[in-house]
Symmetry: C2
Subunit: 333 residues, 2 copies
């Protein structure tokens, strides 16, 4: 994998546009790019339910060009796109449950806004290097494990359907219109600045908050397998994807250190916190309808193409997350 | 397959809503349902480029309840949906090229309107039996032939991506919300009332018009394989899909009598017309980017579940189409 100094060489002075930047991964990516010397412009609609939190850019206000525009607003896009070298496109609605109760808002953000953005790229900056944050959710219930990129795409909720369309638009614009776009299919990502006030991004946020507040958290089922990526490793993946020409037009899984049961995750969290408790309960019926069962991915393709490998294991990732939120949790509730 | 009298028994007096009814397949379906004694309400936005042609309902004006509402208009939907037994959902944008030049309109019609309609079904008539017209286009370039329903879904243009999302919404609403929806993946459909003024529905319309006007038509390539469904057989497929409970939640291919090369199709058309000529030329470059190569489907699954089989072969279908347009072509230009 490329070292941090080589990232600095690649991004120093480069113009970078990031959408969804006030969210969890977007804000960590922004901090890294600012530290590497990139000229960062950010575009975020700051819709509270979708993970945007102004606090996530605390301390960077004067170092980045913040634009609270909505990616759904096509008229403002050309001026943002012109002259940029990279676009990290992380704007999205991530809640599966919200997508079922308000499917049209999910469509607006995850489909329509993506198509609008890509059309603007095609017209105003077709050589822009684009990296799009997709999700494991597009695979649906796995036929086999680990899931590779050839696995059938069978989303189980509106969010998955719309994210799939968003991803397909990116691959199409790369293939047909030559806008060099890459898609990363993310799994559960954890780390500082993750959403902890509810489960709209990941259930891990709710667990983490509970142990910090010395409350018991609930583990649904417990045997289910998942994989996890620490956010610094996810940020590395975005940077490498942007810098690897062979990634244009490709969709790759991003995983981590292999599968972990929810029970094991809960125990690791309690150990990382040096204390905590949880109660197991049945999987709620209304969740079961859109639950995907066990999931973990192989990210061999991405490792092979880019040299990426995760550096932070689950225990260390949870410890670093806990350390961050012990200091800052008040800003995330 | 069920006989016409048993269709009459099933649909007589039933309330049927049809979208996209002024188009090719929708208008033939409407004529059949009116003849069977159904109480038909139609919903069509009559956007000229999308195949809607008032002439298609000629003679039926007093027999159906025509509403020129747009499926994109959510406020009018509840009143149309209440009390209906069946919904044949054929509203759509079908042009691949238009979807590439104006992708957002394609999204509005093929994604957003579908989700709006399904949300309205869920809220106002969740037991409504829905049949959705999808397309072979969602498969993209086939990995193997004939294409079955397990084939990977890899659309090659914006229309294919949006139709895929529209199809997935229908299957999701069936699985999760219990709205009994069926998806039919149509291939090239031909017959009376097909679009002949341009190639927005199928290239066959342009060929047919040319032989009627005693002009030469162009055959691009010639070796490419396709399959064809005669519209009466497609109408039967919609009726059977609606009447077969086992079809709820399923997506099935509709094919015909097997693969035909474009060269053989051109020759059959000239023979059916008892005259005509064509010139072969290279496949145009701007089409090649979104062309899918050879395609033909197996529709064994649909035949097994419903007993459907095509009755009209390609030669007879072309003869009946020519006979219709010899009389009526002036209304279709």
């Amino acid at each position: 994998m490329q070292s941090r100094p080589s990232f600095a060489k690649a991004f120093r002075g480069k113009r970078v546009l990031i959408t969804g930047v006030l969210g969890f991964i977007g804000s960590n990516l922004t901090r890294t790019l600012v530290a590497l010397g990139a000229k960062v412009t950010i575009l975020d609609s700051l819709i509270p339910e979708y993970g945007g939190n102004r606090r996530n850019l605390h301390g960077l206000e004067r170092k980045v060009d913040i634009n609270l525009a909505d990616v759904r607003d096509r008229h403002s896009l050309p001026e943002f796109l012109r002259g940029q070298h990279f676009l990290f496109n992380l704007a999205g609605q991530t809640s599966h449950m919200d997508s079922m109760t308000d499917p049209e808002t999910d469509l607006e953000i995850n489909c329509r806004a993506q198509l609008t953005l890509l059309e603007a790229c095609r017209r105003h900056n077709p050589k822009l290097r684009v990296v799009f944050a997709s999700t494991r959710q597009i695979y649906g219930r796995p036929d086999y494990l680990p899931v590779d990129e050839q696995h059938p795409l069978r989303p189980v909720d509106v969010n998955g359907i719309n994210k799939l369309a968003g991803e397909e638009y990116h691959l199409l614009y790369s293939r047909v219109h030559g806008v060099p776009s890459t898609v990363l299919r993310l799994t559960n990502t954890i780390g500082p600045r993750m959403r902890v006030k509810d489960a709209r991004q990941t259930f891990v946020g709710v667990w983490l908050r509970a142990v910090l507040e010395e409350r018991a958290f609930e583990v649904w089922g417990g045997e289910q397998l998942r994989d996890f990526t620490y956010v610094d490793d996810a940020v590395d993946a975005f940077l490498l994807a942007a810098l690897t020409p062979a990634m244009a037009g490709k969709a790759c899984n991003i995983g981590g250190h292999g599968p972990v049961s929810l029970q094991a995750l809960a125990e690791t969290l309690v150990a990382a916190n040096d204390g905590g408790r949880f109660a197991k309960r049945e999987f709620p019926a209304e969740r079961k309808r859109i639950d995907i069962g066990d999931y973990y991915a192989t990210d061999e393709m991405f490792r092979r193409l880019t040299g990426w490998a995760p550096r932070i294991d689950l225990r260390a990732g949870l410890e670093q997350s806990l350390a961050f939120f012990r200091q800052h949790v008040a800003h995330y509730l």
